[in-house]
Amino acid sequence: MAVVTEQPNIDLREPKGWRRNLNRIMTWLMVLSFILVIIPLVFVLVTVVIKGAPVISWTWLTTGPIPPNVAPADVGGIGPAVLGTILITFWATLMAVPLGILGAIYLNEYSGGRGLLGGLISFFSDVMTGVPSIVMGLFIFSIWVLHFGFSGFAGSLALGCLMLPIVIRSTYEMLRLVPNSLREGSYALGATKARVTVTVVLPAALGGIVSGALLAIARAAGETAPLLFTILVVTTANPNVFSGPNTSLPSQIFTNASSAFTGAQARGWGAALTLIVICFVLMIAARIVTARFTRFQQH
């Protein structure tokens, strides 16, 4: 009556010996690689905050002109560089974001990323994200600065070229997540393709598009190389982006970094902290937008 089934003797514990040891070593190496990355990040951030924070004040950020390198740290301000960064990045955004979104609309809504032209544009917008930023600077120098002279707008053009493929890629990924049923529903109501795209598809993907654009702006705001030969560096504020040399926070840091004067270096650290805060705020804003508005992403 009592049927005793004999349990087979299987050892379900972790295998012993070198196999277990190797597994543990490898897991610890993975953790170690993450620690190796945190160290320089923390090191950089702490240094920038410690050295930059004493210099920064509201008047320092808003007044100019930028004093010469020999001046001590408590003289003048970097207002012109803050103004330049805001203006140049604003114009770059104004050009690159709408064009990038339209390009992504072509890729996803019209070509579907397939076909000869769609495939080419999709492939080369990927490749274009890898074009070195200094080459963008040389490009705008060759086609714009040689004819129209140095200006903040030339810098905006260079930054715009840098942002365009990033905006296209991020928008394209977001448009792909919009469910087809939304498009089909609107077509069934008789809407044209343009109307479906603008009033249904884009709003559905808005969160992702905005966050992608913010990340592209953060990337552009921190770039120096495309600005070196397009805006030059000046010490006084130039609110007119369309004519005359301009300046920006990254350019200012670059000139100050190679200076031996402690005043100039202190201004460099202050500008670096300002720039990092701007980039981080943009990135955090992008995260918040993604978290609040993304509706169709499945994790």
Binding site: E14, P15, R19, R20, L22, M26, L29, M30, S33, L36, V37, F43, V44, T47, L99, G100, G103, Y106, L120, F124, S125, V127, M128, G130, V131, P132, S133, I134, V135, F139, S142, I143, L164, I168, G190, T192, K193, A194, R195, V198, A218, A221, G222, E223, L228, F229, P250, I253, F254, N256, A257, Q265, G268, A272, L275, I276, C279, F280, M283, H299
Partner: protein
């Protein structure tokens, strides 16, 4: 609202052709705008190649094959770019060698070891690393990191002095601003992109492969070797190449920490130069053939990075397609 009234019952009776013929002007304009924006990418790439090559033509014509010689002396009219090409290769290789194992380690940690909830903060930290601007790395690199590294370089240098191969690579002369410092900074900068691309590839490994490996009694590491690695190898190679492309084109950090000395030397702790750095540092005072030479170095850099990127994206796309098909 007007479009809705247009598509009244009368149109429903029409054929598909009739419908497409009734596309309003705005609709067609929008399509053309979208197409033009898409084409802009191709136009810009062609324009970059064309306009920069044109500006650099006097370098190519006046120097001929001498552009690939090792003699850079603008005051004497010698514009050989070999030292910069060498520096770009050396710093790129140092960056890749240091960054790839770490990036793959983090990618494996994120996809195979930690749970999803713990993975997100790690991803945020890696993203922070990507947001730190190039010029801030450069500022920190030259004012803080390089002087600190120079002590280590000096110790290593005196330790390996006279030893055949090591002495030639790591021996004196040493300097804080050097090939190696530049390579390390570039490694910090490309780690986020290599990590995130590798992670994307590893996330496509089918769960059934991993479960199969575990069912056969594999440890986690054996599962990674047997199931994850064969599946993601191709994609990781593509990610590494993309990282290499980034490292070669990174300008401002390199311009500040590489040491600005146009020499070809086996000493990794000695000051050197690379292609983007020389453009950034010398363009300001250049004119005539000198400026053409610097733009020409930009053309070479553009060509190299385009080739690397095309190869990398082809590899990534192929491995992604195979992952979908599997």
């Amino acid at each position: 609202m007007s479009t809705v009234t247009e598509a009244g019952p009368a149109d429903v009776a029409g054929s598909a052709r009739a419908l497409s013929e009734r596309r309003p002007l705005g609709d067609r304009t929008f399509q053309i705008l979208a197409l033009a924006s898409g084409l802009l990418v191709l136009v810009i790439l062609v324009l970059i190649a064309f306009s920069t090559t044109q500006q650099a033509s006097s370098w190519f014509t006046s120097q001929g094959w001498k552009i690939f010689t090792y003699n850079w002396n603008p005051t004497a009219g010698d514009y050989g770019a070999l030292a910069f090409i060498y520096g770009t290769a050396v710093t790129g290789i140092i960056a890749i060698v240091m960054s790839v194992p770490v990036s793959i380690g983090i990618a494996l940690l994120l996809t195979e070891v930690v749970p999803y909830r713990a993975a997100r903060p790690i991803v945020y930290v890696i993203d922070l690393l990507a947001v730190v601007p190039s010029v801030v790395w450069g500022l920190w690199g030259i004012l803080i990191f390089a002087p600190w590294l120079n002590h280590i370089y000096a110790d290593i240098g005196s330790a390996v002095k006279g030893i055949p191969v090591l002495g030639n690579l790591f021996g004196p002369p040493t300097s804080g601003a050097s090939f190696f410092t530049c390579g390390v900074i570039l490694a910090f900068m490309i780690t986020p992109i290599v990590t995130s691309l590798s992670r994307e590839v590893m996330a496509t490994v089918p769960a059934i492969d991993k479960e199969g490996a575990y069912a056969l009694g594999a440890t986690r590491w054996e599962m990674i070797r047997g199931a994850v690695w064969p599946h993601s190898q191709g994609g990781v190679v593509g990610a590494v190449l993309l990282g290499l492309g980034r490292a070669m084109g990174e300008t401002i950090a390199a311009a500040l920490v590489i040491g600005s000395s146009a020499v070809i030397t086996s000493h990794l702790f000695a000051p050197g130069y690379n292609m983007p750095a020389v453009i950034a540092n010398q363009f300001g005072e250049a004119s005539g053939v000198f400026r053409a030479a610097l733009i020409g170095i930009g053309v070479l850099l553009f060509a190299i990075t385009i080739i690397i990127n095309v190869i990398a994206h082809t590899i990534v796309e192929r491995s992604a397609r195979r992952a979908r098909g599997a």
